[in-house]
Structure formats: C-alpha cells, structure tokens
C-alpha cells in the first residue's frame, strides 16, 4: 500500500511526512516525527493525554487521522515554551507542584492554554469542566486547578 504524503505545520514549522491512510495524528507525531510529548493513554478520546490543537481547536490527536491534516496548523506541547522561556502555565505547574507522574501534564497544559486563549478569566468550575476530558490519576486535580487559575491571573495582569 503506498503511503500518503502530507504537508502540515507543526508548532510553526512546515513539516512533511508519509503515513498510512489509517494512521492517527498521534501515531505520526510519536512514531514518525518522534514528538513524544503527546501521550497515548487510551486511544479513544477518553483521557486527553494526547491533546494538541488543530487549526486552533483543542482535539485529541488520537481521534484525528494524519491524512486529514494536509495544510493544517498543529500545536503540541513541544511548541509551548519560547526557547528556554517557559510559558506561564508551565512555570505555574512547577511552582504549584501540579504534577506527580507527569504523564497527563502535556495534555493538560495544551488544554489549559486553549481555554485561557478563549476565556482569560475562567471560574474554577468552568476550568474543571473544560479539563474534564483530561484524566489525572495522581493529583486529585487540586494543585492543577490552583496552577491554572494562578497562571490565568498572571497572564491577565501581564
């Protein structure tokens, strides 16, 4: 079976790759491009560990076919920091100890960033519902919520 040739933008860089027609965007990111920040926790859109944005929309990359991304703009955790300068969300996650094992962290950061771009001043309830698709088994979510709320406050002030 011949492979599909796809040209897309990932974290602002034009990227070309070959993929099978049934491969997910997550498979391509990880296994072909070795961008392993997005994790496969379930492969069925239930855990959010593979969250990326696709043309500005928060999606599970396991529920996107790589073939669909021709011409698309994709943003992953690898593009969140500006060089050595961490995004405020990343910094606040460290300050608030908002991660334990850290495997859900990239997905949660990508999701939280998408929320704050849409709603810079969410209530805690809005935040909890927005993040309901990002499972975390270690933290009980408490410190994650604190970190995002604090980052939002800082970003509004900036």
């Amino acid at each position: 079976m011949s492979k599909l040739h796809i040209t897309t933008s990932i974290n602002g860089d034009q990227t070309e790759f070959l993929c099978n027609s049934d491969e997910s965007l997550l498979d391509v990111l990880r296994d072909r491009l070795h961008l392993t920040g997005a994790k496969e926790g379930c492969g069925s859109g239930d855990c959010g560990a593979c969250s990326v944005t696709l043309n500005g929309r928060l999606v599970c990359s396991c529920l996107v076919l790589a073939a669909e991304t021709e011409g698309a703009e994709i943003a992953t955790i690898e593009g969140m920091a500006d060089g050595e300068k961490l995004h405020p969300l990343q910094r606040k996650f460290l300050e608030h100890a908002a991660l334990q094992c850290g495997v859900c962290t990239p997905g949660i950061l990508v999701a939280a960033k998408a929320l704050l771009e849409k709603n810079p001043d969410p209530t805690e309830t809005e935040l909890r519902y927005w993040l309901a698709g990002n499972l975390c088994r270690c933290t009980g979510y408490d410190k994650i919520i604190n970190a995002v709320m604090d980052a939002a406050a800082e970003m509004r002030g900036a």
Binding site: K39, E40, L94, T105, L131, A132, D142
Partner: protein
C-alpha cells in the same frame, strides 16, 4: 529495640518546596516514558488474548502468522524456558498462558513485526482451538464447595472445611476473649460488606522496549515501579544471569502498586530473542484493564460490640478476598489492618482468599487495607449513630496510641492517631453546617509502611556539586526529596544536587517503589551516604591542615576545626575539598546499602461531605479534608499531593469504579469511558492537614505517606451516604442505581 535514628534538629531545606528536578522535562514534553523509546530496526510487538474467561488451549497454530511478510517472531507460552518455579512461574503464566486461558484477556501468543499493521494482521492469522471450561468471576460463587475450580491443587493448608478448592489462603490475627468482650457490649452490630475490584488506573499504559543480542545479553527500558524486580523476574523466567539483563526505568506515568510486577516485559524479551532485533511492546488501554493490575474484590463480615458510652468491647471480622486466577497474599495486610486504629481487649480478624477467572491482582496503594477498613469503619459509624455518639469522640475513646497492643500483634511506638482525631474535631470542616440532602462522614485509616533493600551512591564532583544515584523510579517527586535530604545533610544548596535514577547495572539491588518506602528508606540511605561523604571530606581537610580527622567538623558546606585546640584554619568549602580531591586521595563518594527497617506506621483521618439527589441517586462530593501523619514532610507539596491523590482514588472506588463482568465472564467496561475514574469536575478542593509525629526509625522522622490516603475514603463516603439517605449502604461502588434503589426501598 527502641529506634534511635531520629534526632530533633532545625532544618534549612527540609520542609521547603523547591521545584522538582524532573519538572521542566515534564512540562515541556521532554520526559521519556515507557513508550517513548525508539531503537534502530525496532519491531512492534502485539499480544493475542483469550476472549474466554476459562478455556483449555487445545492447540495454537502460528504457521500462517509466521509466514506473513514482515513478521519476525511469533511466540507462545511454550517458548519460555521451562525453568521458572513457584511464584515466578505464576507470574510467567500470567504474562503468557501455558495450556489454559484463565481469564478474559489472558495472553496466549505474541508477535513481533515490522510495523503495527503487520503485527495486527499476524494476530488474526493465529488459530487457537479453545475448549471452553466453566468459569467463576465472583467471590460468593468461587468459595462454594461446588464452584468451578480455577486451578486445581492450590487449596491453602489452613483453609477451613466447607470452602471450595479455589480457596488458597486463610489467616487469623487478634487477641483476647471475643465472647467475653461481646458480653460486655450494650449494642452489637453485625453486617456484611462488599467491594468491587478496581484498577489502579494509571494513565500511562504498560510499555517496554527489549533488545536482546545473540550472546544472550539484553537491555530493557520500561515503565515500572521497580526495575531491579523486573530484571530479577525476567532473568528467572528467561533463565538468564541477572547480570546479563540491564533494565533502565523510564519515567513512570503512574503505578499505585500496579507496576510492581511484570506483564509484558518477559514477552518482549522472548520476542527480541527470537527475532534478533529490538521489540517494543505497549499495552492498549483495553489490555491494561483486562490483563494488568486490578485490586482484590471483597466480601467482609464485621461484628463489633460497644457500650452505651462508646467503648468498643470486641471486634471480629472475616474478610474474603478474590484476586484472580493465581494465589495472592492480600488477605494478610487486609486482616492485619482492619482494626489497627483501635485499642481493643478482644479482637479477631480472619482472612480467606479465593481464586476466580480474573487477572491476577496487583498491589494497589495500601493493598488489602481499604476493603477491610471500610467494613470496620462503617460498623463503628453505625454504632455511633445508633447510640447517639459523636463519631470522633468514639474514635478518640478507642484510639490506638503508644503502648497499645495492636490488633495484628506488636505494641505501637510513637503514633499520631489521637493527634489526628483531635485535629479533625477542631477543624472547621467538622462543625460546618450541612444543608438538606447532605451528610458528613469520617473514617480512620492505617497503613504499615515498608523499608527494604536500598542502595544509594553519592558522588562529589570536582566542582563541589553532588550527583546522587538511587535505584527507585520516581513516582511522586522522590528525586526532589532525595536532593533535599542530601543538600540538608551536606549544608549546600538544593540546586547543587542532581539525583539520578540509575539502571540495574549501576547500583546494588533496590526493592520496588512500594509500601510507601522510598522517602523513608532511600532517604535514610541518602542521609547516611551523605554522612559518609562528609566524614571523608573532613578527613581530607584534616590531611590538608595536618590535624586529626576527629578535630574537624562539618557545618553548612564547610569543613571547620572542631575547636580552638585544632588550630587556626579558615573553614574549607566543599568546592575546595572537591577540587583538591584528586591530590588528597582520589574521588570522594559516599554510599550506603541497607535493608531498611523501622518504617513507622502511619494513620490518617478523613472528613467528607456529600449531597445526594434523592430522585436520581447522584452523589456530589461537596467538601473533603484529609488529615495525615507524615512523620516529617520533606517536601510538603508532594506530601499533600499524595494525600489528595489517594483520597480521590478512594472517592472513585467508593462511588463509581468497578470491574463489571457479564454472564460470559467477560469484562464489560475495559476502558476509561465505562470504568469511571473521577474527572476534574467531579471533585471539590481536597483540603489537607499534615501532622508531624516523628518516626523514631528515620534520622529526620520521616514516615511513608503514599498509601494511607486511600484507606479512609471508602468508609468516609459510605458513612456520609448512610447519614444522608438514612440507609446503611453495604456495597461499593455506591453508584446511582444502587443509591436510588436503597432510597426507594426505604420508602
């Protein structure tokens, strides 16, 4: 033997909250987890699993799969060397069936191929001829004398008459005259409780990459709580020398006890051996639920007697656990911990384990304790309610303390239960008003905490920085804790210490990251390694100064003369001692190897408010407070994180999490959609109160904190539920259909 490790002191770094050393990697996506490793020529491994709960494998024909282009190896259980014995053979047969499939999802064959699609096709070409056998997936049926037998020849030697041959273990703990105790009671309550099997629910599926050469030597990268354990188990199963296998632990995406054994690692090695190429094997989420981890399900009878003024006169429990198709020993900690919070004159806890056609249970945070504690704490609460007594007052009246003979035998040293209960009573949460359809529950919880084999090496680099090498995967921030303890002991900045989790070729054996042991045991070894390095640094300074080594003391990162008699010498900084070390005798390394004992038990008290929708049975957790004794909180944020995480896992267990089996013995909810772990919007803030009652067995007073937090929530929520709806619920999870049914039946 009174322990005298603990010495009171003022800390500079311990108790602060610096950023964890692995933090930046984890917020930028750089951290490498089990599935994030790639090697040139790497193959993709996949497993074929039984769709039957119990079936004899009459034959497996792998010829068509082997012939498929791109397939490099196909293996079955018969391909393992026939050398493993005892418990290791059980582990091996759980990884890959040998003749009989014992549960839905039991692996029967595996392939390695050039890519995932070829591997998937190959699985379809494997022909397995099954003869379906009768199955049993629940305790009640499994212990009946006429039950289908899961594995013959496994009956435990102490199991009483009247139980089926599925019963593999029996135990009994306790002391005193039970009937005399019950005779003194004004009120006796007896109830039977059930809990469902639950999964650890770690977000990272089990994953490994194995690379075995034709010389029989191999490397492996995997997510595990104990890579030394992985090495030893794999070496035994593969009949290799332990030195022939080097295992490197990846970052671990959660474990909670579930990654303390092997599921796929020996299979990946076997595939790599046959293929002569590296093989990556990653479980799907479906496989994780079907074939790894779950905890035991339970059915527990509890009988407790109490006087009108709240004194418990006797307690008796029979716990029955089932943990899958192979024997396990979870009944021991289950029975031992059931009454561990109480000072009782007459107590007995008996445990019975039975086999079922389900995956072999794996440890889950304080394994065995939540189930038995739930039952005991629910009956204590009911007695309080019936007798009109405050549930904290009653627990205070009966609380175990220093000098109490515990329900499992030994006499307690310093423990903090009374302080916790007093703090709970004084907490504003406990006296906050409740609205309609709302209720409050509390519960105690206990866990032993472990020590175990530990090996640590601490190297002084020539610039005065420290490389600390330890051998336990960092599951909750332990590298930060180790760096802090090393820095504290050496009197240098936290940032000057980098802690590395080494592979199995770099240190002596380290027991699995389990039993809340790491901050205690690895911390203890780190402190002693640092002390060894300090002693050596003092000797080097003494040589330079030309004075006796015992005339030099270490203070705040400097060697100093001990007193005026030692002469006039400027304090010598660690940087200078490090820079001079090649010329003063060579590199300076402190190390410590020990089987750590004296972990110090831990208690917790939880307070929980819920609101129940009386028309739908939906339960909302309104407020939750965790109080726990940490001995000494090295990094308080991570201690809080452990307390919050444990509580939330317990909340999930109490309300919605369960393994659901069909009549066919197949697991019906092997995914995050229908195995319902709590999501962010399900939860309130989880408030925490850390108490510090020092553990005499650790230089800084540390107690393990990782596991205790999952013990109280089951009863705390159940007690809140009972007080809200006016019906005593005796089965977990208290899912909405069960709650609504109870409300309706009450009328």
């Amino acid at each position: 033997m009174a322990l005298d490790e603990y010495q009171k002191r003022d800390f500079k770094i311990i108790g602060t909250t610096p950023v964890r050393p692995d933090g930046v990697d984890k917020v930028t996506g750089r951290a490498q987890y089990g599935a994030d490793f790639y090697l040139p020529g790497m193959l993709v491994g996949k497993m074929l699993r039984s769709p039957h709960a119990h079936a004899r494998i009459k034959s497996i024909d792998v010829s068509a799969a082997k012939a498929l282009p791109g397939v490099k190896a196909v293996v079955t259980g018969a391909d393992f060397p026939a050398t493993a014995k005892g418990d290791t053979l059980d582990v091996q047969e759980h990884c890959l069936a040998n003749g009989v499939a014992l549960y839905d999802g039991h692996a029967v064959a595996a392939v390695a191929a050039v890519d995932a699609n070829v591997a998937k096709q190959a699985l379809k070409l494997i022909k397995v001829d099954y003869e379906i056998l009768p199955h049993v997936t629940n305790i009640e049926d499994a212990i009946k004398p006429d039950a289908p037998i899961v594995q013959a020849g496994r009956r435990g030697r102490h199991v009483p008459e009247g139980y089926s041959d599925n019963c593999t273990g029996w135990c009994e703990f306790g002391h005193g005259d039970l009937e005399a105790g019950f005779a003194k009671a004004d009120k006796i309550i007896t109830r039977t409780f059930k809990t469902s099997s639950t999964h650890q629910g770690y977000i990272e599926p089990n994953a490994c990459l194995a690379n075995m050469g034709a010389d029989g030597r191999a490397d492996m990268w995997c997510c595990t709580q104990g890579h030394f354990q992985v090495r030893n188990l794999c070496a035994q199963i593969m009949d290799m020398d332990q030195s022939a296998l080097r295992v490197t632990a990846s970052e671990i995406g959660g474990g909670f006890g579930g990654k303390t054994t092997v599921f796929i690692e020996p299979v990946a090695l076997l595939l790599s051996q046959k293929a002569g190429l590296p093989v990556k094997l990653v479980m799907t989420r479906d496989e994780v639920f079907k074939a790894s981890g779950p905890t035991v399900a339970s059915m527990t009878d509890v009988r407790i007697g109490m006087t009108n003024d709240g004194k418990i006169t006797a307690g008796d429990a029979l716990i029955r656990y089932e943990g899958g198709a192979w024997p396990n020993s979870t009944i021991f900690p289950g029975a031992q911990s059931a009454f561990a919070s109480y000072d009782l004159e007459a107590v007995r806890a008996q445990g019975l384990n039975t086999l079922t056609n389900r995956p072999l249970q794996a440890a889950y945070r304080a394994p065995g304790a939540p189930q038995s504690t739930y039952a005991v704490e629910a009956v204590v609460d009911e007695l309080c309610e019936v007798l009109g007594l405050d549930p904290i007052d009653v627990r205070l009246k009966n609380a175990a303390q220093k000098g109490t003979k515990s329900s499992y035998g030994p006499t307690y040293d310093d423990i903090g239960l009374i302080q916790l209960l007093e703090a709970a009573k004084a907490h504003p949460h406990y006296s906050a008003p409740l609205g309609p359809n709302q209720g409050r529950g509390i519960s105690n919880g206990f866990w032993f905490n472990f020590g175990g084999e530990t090996s640590v090496s601490l190297a002084l680099n020539f610039d005065g920085t420290i490389t600390l090498v330890e051998g336990n995967p960092d599951i909750g921030g332990s590298r930060a804790a180790m760096s802090m303890m090393a820095a504290e002991e050496l009197g240098i900045a936290y940032e000057k210490v980098r802690t590395i989790v080494a592979d199995t070729a770099s240190l002596g054996h380290n027991e699995v990251t389990h039993g809340s042991r790491v901050t205690f045991a690895v911390g203890l070894a780190t402190i002693k390694a640092a002390r060894a390095a300090k002693a050596e640094m003092c000797r080097r300074a003494a040589k330079i100064w030309g004075i006796d080594a015992d005339a030099v003391v270490w203070e705040d990162g400097f060697a100093k003369p001990a007193g005026a008699n030692a002469g006039e010498h400027d304090p010598m900084p660690i940087e200078k001692i490090a820079a001079d070390s090649p010329r003063t005798g060579g590199p300076i390394v402190g190390h410590h190897e020990v089987t750590a004992d004296g972990a110090g038990v831990s208690f917790g008290v939880h307070i929980c408010d819920i609101e129940v929708d009386p028309e739908t049975g939906f339960t909302k957790v309104l407020r939750y407070t965790v109080l726990q004794d940490a001995g000494k909180a090295i990094h308080p944020d991570y201690v809080e994180g452990q307390m919050q995480g444990g509580a939330v896992q317990g909340i999930g267990w109490a309300l919605n999490e369960e393994y659901i089996y069909g009549e066919d013995g197949r697991l019906q909810n092997a995914g995050f959609l229908d195995y319902r772990i709590p999501v962010a919007s399900d939860l309130p803030k989880i408030d925490t109160v850390i108490l510090e009652i020092p553990n005499p067995g650790h230089p800084y007073g540390v107690r393990g904190v990782g596991e205790t937090g999952i013990v109280p929530p089951l009863a705390a929520i159940s007690n809140a539920m009972s007080r809200t709806i006016g019906v005593r619920m005796a089965e977990l999870p208290m899912s909405p259909p069960r709650v609504l049914k109870a409300i309706k039946e009450k009328g």
